[in-house]
Amino acid sequence: MSLVKVPRPTLGERLKRFFMADMFKGMWLTLKYNVGALTDKDSVKGFGIYTEQYPSVRPQVAPRFHGAPRLNMDPETHESLCIACNLCALACPEDCIDVIAMDIEMSVGGKPRKKKVLDEFIFDTSRCMFCALCQEACPTACLELTQEFELATYSRAGFVWNREMLEQGRESRKFEA
């Protein structure tokens, strides 16, 4: 195993300290950033402003971001992709998903058959920790965590999303700067 001895200041460095070289070096670096922030507007040279100007500039979140949940619909038929299989509710560590299914009578080739369809879908976003296990469990790519990240509401009840909110998306207020 090779080791690195951590260096300690030598006599020469102690002399430099006597002439306050350490203070001037630090202040020079800070001054460079102060001037740089004025000239280097888009942080090309690494001196610019790094702070995101939210909410006037909305950040671009990653495509894999785990944000607000959504129930996807078939783009052509506009029917829910959910088959009410309950796998997401079983995969959820916080038990914050409730899938309520109902049986409907339908006839397939003249024979009456029962089919399980989704009736109501309750997603409690106040207990959700956005681990995306539900999204991975979904066999039809219906339940998805989207890039929407503004989830604050004025009441606790507002955190519980029902099927309509999950399918249509919550009406979110956009704040102007």
Binding site: L3, V4, P7, P9, K16, L29, A62
Partner: protein, 377 residues
């Protein structure tokens, strides 16, 4: 636990030169909800006691009632600054209990991202530690680099802090498009940035005055308490689990273990800075050697490790993160125990602080690099 007592032999309270000072749990420099009860003579600390448990969530008990794949997101919330490392210890423990062979590509991606997590954890430590001591500028510089790492995490895992990075047997997704370029860019830029921190701190007279000779702990004491990580290496003990019991792909990678000499706050600072440089070296190497192929092993649908117990530990940013898992052969663990580096490092606080001033307690809490989420669990 050791109790702080005030001598009550004096006639009135004013005759008593000693006083008890409560520091925390809302003190900003205790890095969370840590309450330190100090017994002072003037400004000198005679004795102290830590009161912990304000952030207790019962993680180990929660784990007994969850299926194996469900526990990983909770493990992120132990040490939320180093969520990727914490997640790794859980999945590796279960994988080794199941006897799963993880593909080499997954091992390399795990090494890259846990090392980036180590850098980001050390950067946040540097930022807050310097801020506690009075150097504000370093915070702005260190958080800028941390932001670059968190952007890589967001692209890869979909979350910035509590990533839920790994799954048992591999990872949820392969590296995203542009992963190599982003990491390479960080690797190229980072050495210049560390030099900037060094410019601001390493020779600064205020920094030296606040750190040199403060919180000294000898190698013998450090081993006796059970310190691990940079807190132990600052005392000159070259103990690193990445070298002594290599996991993931560390056996194939070349890196050095920095050690200090004097065991004071300044040495631990130098050790952590050098560790960031070594982590950057590891990331650069792993990126070059990263093989192709799948990132997931073949995992059974229902994970049921065989009955028995298993202990596995990795080198986290703060020290040895261990996980002791007892399985009774069902789909839920019988008992899980976390070996928390921060809790054990915190035990050195009393020995380090006694005889120093109140202001130094802040520096020593900072140098131990504790996160209360992991101490209280």
């Amino acid at each position: 636990m050791h109790q702080v007592e005030v001598a009550t032999t004096q006639e009135t309270l004013l005759d008593n030169p000693e006083m008890v000072l409560n520091m925390g749990p809302q003190h900003p420099s205790t890095h969370g909800v840590l309450r330190v009860v100090l017994r002072l003579d003037g400004e000198t600390v005679i004795d102290l006691d830590c009161d912990i448990g304000f952030l207790h969530r019962g993680m180990e008990k929660i784990a007994e009632n969850r299926l194996y794949p469900m526990i990983a997101p909770y493990w992120d919330r132990l040490d939320y600054i180093a969520a990727v490392s914490n997640g790794l210890v859980w999945v590796e423990t279960v994988e080794q209990m199941l006897g799963l062979e993880v593909p080499p590509r997954a091992h390399y991606i795990r090494v890259i991202l846990t090392e980036l997590n180590r850098i980001s954890s050390h950067l946040l430590w540097l930022a807050t530690h310097a801020l506690d001591i009075g150097a504000f500028t370093v915070l702005l510089h260190a958080l800028r680099e941390r932001e670059e790492i968190l952007k890589i995490f967001e692209q890869q895992f979909g979350a910035r802090l509590t990533c839920h990075a790994w799954r048992i047997g591999g990872m949820p997704n392969d590296a995203y498009e542009g992963f190599t370029e982003d990491v390479q860019q960080f690797v190229d830029n980072f050495p210049g940035r560390i030099d900037q921190y060094e410019t601001l701190l390493s020779e600064n007279r205020i920094w030296l005055g606040r750190t040199v000779g403060i919180g000294v702990i000898s190698a013998r004491d450090a081993i006796a308490i059970g310190l691990s990580g940079p807190a132990l290496r600052g005392s000159g003990v070259a103990w690193d689990i990445r070298k002594s019991r290599p996991y993931a792909a560390y056996a194939d990678l070349d890196f050095d273990v920095p050690v200090g000499e004097n065991g004071d706050t300044y040495d631990r600072y130098l050790v952590r800075l050098e560790e960031m440089r070594q982590s950057r070296r590891i990331v650069g190497q792993a990126l070059k050697q990263m093989p192709g192929g799948p990132v997931n092993a073949k995992v059974p649908k229902v994970i049921k490790p065989p009955a028995g117990d298993y202990y596995h530990s990795i080198e986290g940013p703060k020290g040895e993160i261990g996980c002791y898992l007892v399985s009774d052969g069902t789909s839920r663990p019988y008992r899980v125990r976390v070996r928390p580096p921060c809790l054990i490092n915190l035990q050195a606080l009393r020995q380090m602080c006694v005889g120093h001033l109140v202001a130094d307690v802040v520096a020593i809490i900072g140098t131990l690099d504790i996160v209360l989420g992991e101490i209280d669990r």
